[in-house]
Symmetry: C2
Subunit: 355 residues, 2 copies
């Protein structure tokens, strides 16, 4: 494996922000060997991560209460799928941190999706959605899912609109959410409403308290884990308040992923989208918010334990071997990213009557 | 078709209560031709139906907050099914009045269940559960579902207990719900907890206000519908506060059901359970609470519209032909059975971590 070439490819592919973060991380990794106090750790972590914002930015889809209300109902709606079983919440059940717990998500007629189900908590601020970045935003993801063969599986967008228009409850709600529009019941507005709802799905955690200056929000073990997370190089890719989602990266920089998993099939990753040879085995770096609660791991969901996922990542992405103690500390730190799910999210909307 | 024989068979099969109600209904149907005032209607309806009780009786499974709390979490838990996709809430989504909206319920690996999914709202006070009464109680239903080939599909009860015992969160909750037990994590306690939760799922409606003396709780059309419901003979079987669930009845007393539906397959009903020839085509009379919100209709879910279901019932069970006006009134009355789902029911529990 040509690591130098891979790293060159990486630099060519990623943003200025990514490169700056990479350099900052290297510098910090050096400084850290002197093991500074809490404040130093906190300041460095603030520059790499920072707390979740109070609300998710939504420049192209202004958030309104009416849109969020409609989006939440639509999120739970299975009657717009080809076999009446698929809704957003099917693969993103909120009480399981918005993942289905399966190796690969399952859509209509039990069709298996190509990859593992990513959580939609805190997901909207990523550079793109899905493992290979083939959805530009949560809105785009919601819309395309309607006609995705292994998800809702509807034959076309018109058939979805026809079903929605047949339920008076929806006609009223779309009118309220998109006032002034002559024909508000459209899949584009479906996407905007679901997207607006998803943008509210933020789960601040102990780590955010720490990022805001509360030095006791993390345990000592978690603080050591945070240090190791940075010094080992994890934050090179897993940066920002989301600890990921900001860049693409080749998976298996030092060793092939398949060496360490039950996975039989090699996934070409973002190459599927771009057809560019440099995108072979490249994936979007996943966010790590709530990672301890969203097994199984990786794009193929073939790893059950977070401990194992951390060790595999260290081997194949950083060419290193974490001690059991260090990997345990990193896992402890990652648990500080398990957020509180706001009660308002945890309510079931009553769906409109069938007519 | 030998109707006299069928009616004799019916009398042989059903309880004293059923017979008394049948006679009372006949008498009332005669009296009603004089069209009495609201009070008379209300009193008669009270004797046939009455309001939902304040709480569901639970003689064999005392309700405690801890049991209900655990039961609610288990109700949402898919990780104890053979493919990780089946939970109680999969087929009984609360925002759709606890039905899946499919013709026949769909279990693990998309296996079709033999019959349509009955709501579990207000369901626990029936003489038995499921269309053919092959589950003695909601507790029995919950337990057997775990190993039901087209539902959870687990190979045996031990495998369920093993998964539950592997999640510390469940061990704690089972201990709290069943204090003093040495080995509380059992499928029998799973059944008790889920049953206790289901017994809380009561949805009082406008009809209950009427039953409690508020004469304006029903519209005039709904009152006419209530009169017709009784005078046409519907209440002969659909009696009690649940408007059903108290007896078995042959389906197709006057004409075969299949004449009026898309159904291709004849279902032998309770005969499957008892192997008694007199139980051929016999089903448990379903409850009618929330019926307007729980399409599609009948044991095979082959009828989409409540209007059609009412007309078919009148033809095949009562040998009559409702006018469009009368069937419309009955549908209006049935809508008064659409309940308010208490907010406390409409919250999503956070499931325990995988380890």
């Amino acid at each position: 494996m040509n690591t130098t070439r891979d790293i060159k490819a990486w630099f060519g592919k990623n943003s200025i922000l990514g490169i700056a973060t990479f350099l900052a991380t290297l510098l910090y990794a050096t400084v850290l060997s002197a093991a500074g106090p809490d404040e130093e750790l906190m300041n460095k972590a603030k520059s790499l991560f920072g707390p979740l914002p109070a609300s998710m930015p939504s420049p192209d889809n202004p958030i309104t209460p009416e849109k969020v209300k409609l989006g939440k109902v639509l999120f739970w709606e299975p009657r717009i799928s080809v076999d009446g079983t698929v809704s957003c919440v099917k693969c993103h059940p909120l009480g399981l941190y918005a993942v289905d717990g399966l190796r690969k998500a399952m859509g209509n007629h039990c069709k298996e999706n190509p990859r593992n189900d990513p959580t939609i908590f805190n997901a909207a601020a990523q550079i793109s959605e899905h493992w290979i970045g083939n959805r530009t935003s949560v809105e785009d993801q919601a819309k395309q899912a309607l006609v995705g063969p292994p998800s809702y599986g509807m034959p076309n967008y018109e058939s979805v609109e026809k079903i929605l228009k047949g339920m008076t409850g929806y006609v009223t709600m779309f009118k309220q959410a998109f006032p002034g529009e002559n024909n508000p019941v459209t899949v584009d507005n479906f996407a905007k409403a679901v997207g607006a709802f998803e943008r509210t799905l933020m789960t601040p955690s102990a780590f955010d308290d720490f990022m805001k200056g509360n030095a006791t929000a993390l345990t000592d073990q978690q603080k050591r884990g945070l240090k190791s997370f940075v010094s080992a190089g994890c934050a090179t890719c897993h940066f920002s308040p989301y600890l990921g989602g900001q860049m693409y990266q080749k998976f298996g920089l030092f060793e092939p992923y398949e060496k360490y998993t039950k996975s039989q099939q090699v996934d070409e990753g973002r190459f599927v989208v771009t057809k560019s040879p440099s995108d072979k085995y490249v994936f979007k770096v996943p966010i790590l918010r709530n990672v301890a609660e969203t097994p199984p791991y990786f794009h193929d969901g073939s790893v059950d334990k977070l401990e194992d996922a951390v060790i595999i990542m260290d081997k194949i992405q950083l060419g290193a071997d974490l001690t059991k103690e260090k990997s345990g500390e990193i896992v402890a730190f990652l648990k500080s990213l398990t957020g509180t799910i706001p009660e308002a999210m945890l309510t079931v909307p009553i769906l409109p009557s069938a007519d």
